[in-house]
Symmetry: C2
Subunit: 359 residues, 2 copies
């Protein structure tokens, strides 16, 4: 990823400190946060200082590694189990969080010596982050093959590099097509209320990558599909069920239904770490409900340059803030993973899982 | 309509002054604006101090009446034609604006004496406003028959009393069912970015009318339909074409497609003044594009209580701000007018028009 012409990752570890890009302040202020302990990491995940399926997966992995480095020898394994339990509770929907935690934790089970377990934890967390970045690049390579030169792409929320360690999922095909294949692309960025990850984050990524785009209200996507102004849709996923149903940022479902009605290809891009092999269908995916104030207020930069919020609703009204929705497999043209592009179906997911090598 | 337990209309005339509720400041501040001349009225319509199909229709009618009262005798008819031309340019999509202007203007053609024409203009403008209010109440009566007790209703944007002279279109069945039939209803209010007429205006109306509701992000409507949490949808219309296609606030189309996919009844409520008999289909309806800053910024009340705005997008990004979309007739369960409920089709619109008596 390129931020003001410097290369970054969304999250990384430096000795015992987890460093991450503060996504609460973007696009108005670029800041790296130092996370020094579990309590801070839990808050950062929960309040979305770091967010995005892959990024919180890596946060989970680094969280276990940090707990391993900071724990005393005596209660080492109990402390790690406890850290994992606490991290798992921060957000319920994205499978990658659990995958990341388990990727580190399960590797420690065979270590009897604490000092070796500490090394393993750090090595595994870094490996998880590297694998996330390389899986996302591979998604870009496969997905770019679907995009014609001069295509108009629709995406939802932010599934770019900020949502992963690097490259992103839904935006990775766009980046790959532009950077590696010199295609000219145009992206419609829907703002993605309530947290506006589209207007705040996706648009900011595209500014940094110098890719032409326009921000639209979430309400506009369907009309553009009807007007045939969108050629292809790429969205991410927070969890992929065994039957090919997916959970993703609220609004994905409507976009999929309208795309389907207009015969516009609708692809879900996500690394294998997003698949929950134990989840039979979308109906079984836990859906996060968040604080109503995310709806009742909007955060942004005021005219004096400070980050502040305004209330956009009457006193006396309350809000329902559902974070994700389920898109049934039948609306999904294909699932793009680092293993290739497969149908959104039980068989398709079986094929993806059969390609995965245990690391 | 009830504002803090006092009865109001959205717009009315008091001698030569047009008085209207300032919809730019709601829900944070309730204020009546005095419009003293054409220039002010044009601005008020354009910047949405007054908005909503029926309300700007009445504004058009009162605008001609005001011009008649303020014009000298010599250039009277030229001045009125000029006022009409200027008012017609303020907003392009809502048919009611043109209907309201013509309702007054056409009645003056038979008047040869300016003094009589002045009286006629004022009488016709007041008649137009009264007819709008009574048509809307009648829409409520017809529409309320479609709503079961304890129903969960979805609406979009604001098509309540603020959008008309009184009662509203899409919300009128809700008000009628609650006030006149003692039904218990629940309303999901989508915020309706970019101008947030749902969160700002519809929610405020429902607070004043004491009707249970929750505000949701526009992205949530589809998910609630999929979860069968919405029993019926009522939306308004800014223009109804001859074949039953309609234009309404951007986002209506997606809501209609997803409702259709989930077998949820989707009704368009609008007075006959919204029908454009000369417009063959939705493809022929002019669609307003508004300033990109409505997307790049959000207006609300800051923590100090002042109405201000925050930027929610990066410097360097631009936005596309389409105000309306077209919903093809095939997604519409029925059109509710003051003449009754008819199919959204060429035949349905023909039946509606055949019932209309010339006033």
């Amino acid at each position: 990823m390129r931020v003001k012409d410097k290369q970054y990752r969304t999250i990384w570890m430096d000795k015992t400190i987890i460093r991450l890009i503060n996504q609460m302040l973007l696009p108005h202020k670029f800041e790296i946060v130092d996370v020094k302990k579990l309590q801070e990491l839990k808050l950062a995940i929960n309040n979305m200082t770091i967010r995005g399926a892959g990024a919180i997966g890596a946060a989970g992995a680094f969280g276990i590694a940090q707990a391993a480095m900071l724990s005393n020898d005596k209660d080492f394994f109990d402390n790690l189990t406890d850290a994992a339990t606490q991290l798992r509770k921060t957000r319920p929907t994205a499978q990658n969080l659990f995958t990341g935690i388990d990727f580190v934790l399960n590797a420690l089970k065979k270590e009897s010596k604490v000092s070796l377990a500490r090394e393993t934890a750090v090595r595994r967390a870094n490996l998880y982050a590297d694998m996330d970045a390389s899986a996302c690049k591979k998604i870009g390579e496969f997905g770019a093959g679907l995009i014609k030169d001069n295509a108009k792409v629709s995406t939802h929320c932010n599934a770019g590099w900020l949502a992963f360690v690097d490259w992103g999922s839904a935006l990775s095909p766009v980046y790959y097509a532009v950077k590696e294949q010199n295609k000219n692309l145009f992206v419609y960025v829907d703002e993605t209320r309530p947290r506006c990850q589209g207007a705040n984050l996706t648009a900011w990524e595209l500014v940094n990558e110098n890719i032409p785009h326009l921000i639209i209200a979430d309400n506009v996507t369907g009309a553009l599909m009807y007007q045939k102004k969108i050629d292809i849709v790429f969205v991410g996923a927070d969890r992929i069920a065994r039957n090919g149903d997916i959970a993703n940022k609220i609004g994905t479902y409507s976009s999929a239904v309208v795309a389907h009605d207009n015969n516009i290809p609708f692809y879900v891009a996500a690394p294998v770490s997003t698949i929950d092999a134990n989840c039979p269908s979308g109906d079984n995916i836990p859906i996060e409900e968040r604080d109503e104030n995310e709806i009742l207020y909007v955060q942004g930069k005021d005219d004096a340059g400070a980050i502040s919020r305004v209330r956009i609703s009457p006193e006396g009204s309350h809000a329902l803030n559902i974070g994700f929705d389920v898109t049934p497999a039948k609306y999904i043209t294909g699932i793009i993973t680092e293993m290739g592009i497969y149908p959104a179906s039980y068989d398709g997911v079986t094929q993806i899982l059969s390609k995965v090598k245990k690391v």
